[in-house]
């Protein structure tokens, strides 16, 4: 078996039994990256020297008999995570030469668990996008069909897993940016509950919605990655002091008697027929496994996209004010200070980022603050209440991740509103702050992956992982590989 086809737990066994070394595994992954990268474009920066050095260190640890699950496992992370000494661009021209002086906590935790960093992954600029077409470093293509988008904004994170360029990756999810690309690329992607994983050192897009999570080949790997990065961080005052369960230990509990809710607002006309079919089959599978299927209602679903694009853009316009050319990032040649701010930002930001800054600035501006921003915050409360009410009767909810499989490159770039509407099923979990995951649940007639979303209660990651694991044991969708 090729190293690049392995899961984390498979490579871990091989490393532990000394069938191969981490240096050998890492070299194999670097070769794989080199061979498929021209077709996919998952990476912004590949770090072979650092990777091989980290792998050599991991091999010493393994030789000393201390092989933890992630020791020597080659991974890659979205270019939104600060990595000390390694360029971090966030997909933007404005950070083209930015070398962070410190690292993100989530990456530090993964590194301290023994993981080996292969490089930094492509993404929509500042995580703003659903297709990975807004990166300043070129588009990423879907490994299942390179004429299609991989999803976004963690498109590189999903494509790298699907193209077997990394065993697992980290992404971030503000409105679906882990789950939607995971769905489009046929991998597992989990957005933890807000506060479950530290956001320290993660370049901010919309701070009340952003959350870090893993993308992997299967649910067991997802549980392992989440376990490694979760937990309170004194450097992020919004991370929560709730004990981190051993997610892997309870994976096999099964779903007998589990109450699975189907929010009726998510099963609407206009859902792609292949997606509809995959959802029906998934529901049948769960029924067969002994789960109880219950219809529930999330009545404010139809307002989620509008709410999100006011709150997220408002927070973005504020967060991105820091890019002014003074302390770091691109600085334009200009006569005066104001001119320098304006020119630096205008040269450094791409069109989608400018559009969202404009929308957010508008929503926060005098005379419109209450009508747009505060109104959206109130509707957010109603959306959260919907979830609380629904979860009074069910343990998890099952929905599609996206209304359609991956669309074509260029199909929605000229119509931002259509692009925004493709996030309709993923945005509500961010607004409610709860956890949700995407897992492979079928394929379209044209061979594109279709994902299933399991939404859990706040800090209910254990339950959705169990439900995901049960589904995975009963199906073989996750074992299919893109032919790239």
């Amino acid at each position: 078996m090729n190293v690049f086809d392995m899961t984390i737990h498979e490579l871990h066994s091989a490393l532990k039994q000394k069938q191969l070394s981490s240096v050998e595994a890492t070299s194999a992954m670097l070769e794989r990256i080199e061979s498929v990268e021209p077709q996919v474009g998952s990476f912004i920066t590949v770090t072979p020297e650092q990777a091989l050095a980290a792998a050599a260190a991991a091999d010493k640890t393994i030789a000393a008999g201390e092989c933890q699950l992630l020791t020597g496992i080659p991974v890659a992370i979205k270019d939104i995570f600060l990595t000390e000494g390694i360029r971090t661009t966030c997909g933007s021209r404005i950070l083209e030469n930015f070398i962070p002086p410190y690292s993100a906590t989530s990456w530090e935790k993964l590194r301290d668990s023994g993981a080996v960093l292969l490089g930094k992954l492509n993404q929509d600029e500042f995580a703003m996008g659903s297709s990975n077409e807004s990166s300043a470093y070129g588009i990423t293509r879907n490994p299942w069909d390179t004429s299609c988008i991989p999803g976004g904004s963690s498109g590189g994170s999903a494509a790298a897993v699907a193209a077997r360029q990394a065993l697992a990756t980290l992404g971030t999810d503000t409105g679906g940016s882990i789950r939607q690309p995971a769905s489009h690329c046929g991998c597992v992607g989990l957005k933890p509950t807000y506060g479950r994983v530290s956001r320290y050192g993660v370049i901010a897009y919309a701070s009340s919605l952003d959350q870090v999570g893993p993308l992997t080949r299967d649910v067991a790997d997802c549980a392992a990655m989440l376990g490694a990065i979760a937990g309170h961080d004194p450097k992020d005052s919004t991370s929560v002091e709730t004990a981190v369960p051993d997610y892997r230990a309870t994976l096999a509990r099964g779903v007998k008697g589990l109450k699975i809710g189907l929010p009726k607002e998510y099963f609407i006309d206009g859902l792609d027929p292949d997606v509809q079919k995959a959802m029906e089959a998934a529901i049948d599978t769960y029924r067969r496994l002994g789960a109880e299927i219950i219809e529930v209602s999330l009545p404010h679903t139809d307002y989620a996209v509008a709410t999100y694009y006011l709150i997220a853009t408002a927070e973005a316009s504020s967060n991105l004010a820091r890019y002014d050319g003074v302390r770091f990032g691109h600085r334009a040649e200009a006569g005066g200070l104001l001119d320098m701010y304006t020119k630096s930002r205008s040269e450094g930001f791409g069109a989608e980022v400018k559009r969202r800054i404009m929308l957010g600035t508008y929503a926060l501006s005098s005379g419109y603050y209450d009508a747009y921003y505060v109104k959206a915050q109130k509707v957010r409360t109603l959306i959260m209440n919907d979830f609380t009410s629904a979860f009074a009767n069910v343990d998890v909810m099952l929905t599609p991740v996206a209304p359609t499989p991956a669309f074509k490159i260029g199909e929605k770039t000229s119509d931002p509103l259509q692009m925004y509407l493709s996030d309709i099923f993923t945005i509500p979990a961010n607004l409610a702050g709860t956890c949700a995951m995407s897992l492979p649940a079928g394929f379209s007639a044209t061979g594109l992956p279709i994902g299933l979303q399991l939404i859990g209660t706040p800090f209910g990651e254990e339950t959705i992982l169990q439900a995901g694991y049960a589904f995975e044991q009963a199906t073989e969708w996750h074992t299919r590989k893109a032919t790239i």
């Binding site: 070398i99 002086p101 410190y102 509950t193 807000y194 506060g195 009340s208 919605l209 919004t238 139809d302 307002y303 996209v305 509008a306 709410t307 694009y309 006011l310 004010a321 002014d324 003074v326 302390r327 770091f328 990032g329 691109h330 600085r331 200009a334 006569g335 005066g336 200070l337 001119d339 320098m340 701010y341 304006t342 020119k343 930002r345 205008s346 069109a351 400018k354 559009r355 800054i357 404009m358 929308l359 600035t361 508008y362 501006s365 005098s366 005379g367 009508a371 109104k375 915050q377 109130k378 509707v379 957010r380 409360t381 109603l382 959260m384 931002p416 509103l417 925004y420 702050g433 709860t434």
Partner: protein
């Protein structure tokens, strides 16, 4: 020339959606962005469509609803007020586009 507050209100008129190029120019100035003529045209149309879409929130009765700014209920997060190592002057200035000794340098503000 900046619009005055009064002009700005007139321009938009709460509820009357039609984002013009002048509106885009005004918001761009607030956001410290400089747009090309083509971008202004494009953004006016796109912002008009998006803001038209978000108008649907008006359908929702939010009387007495408390706005949510944060998903997880939380009290203030306190920590001990202790001196800890920081990244230091060298690291803090390492990414500076321009510097002067131990300072960030910028174009002259006062003549």
């Amino acid at each position: 020339m900046l619009h005055t507050r009064g002009n700005y209100q007139d321009f938009f008129g709460v509820g009357a959606m039609k984002i013009t190029v002048a509106d885009v120019e005004y918001v761009a100035r607030l956001a410290r962005l400089e747009l090309t003529a083509g971008e202004k045209e494009q953004f006016a149309g796109q912002m008009d469509a998006i803001l038209g879409y978000v108008e649907k929130l008006k359908e929702v009765n939010t009387d007495g609803v408390v706005p949510t700014s944060h998903a997880v209920p939380m009290e203030n997060a306190f920590r001990a007020d202790e001196v800890r190592p920081s990244i230091g002057l060298h690291n803090a200035l390492a990414n500076a586009p321009d510097r002067s000794g131990s300072f960030f340098a910028v174009p002259k503000v006062i003549e």
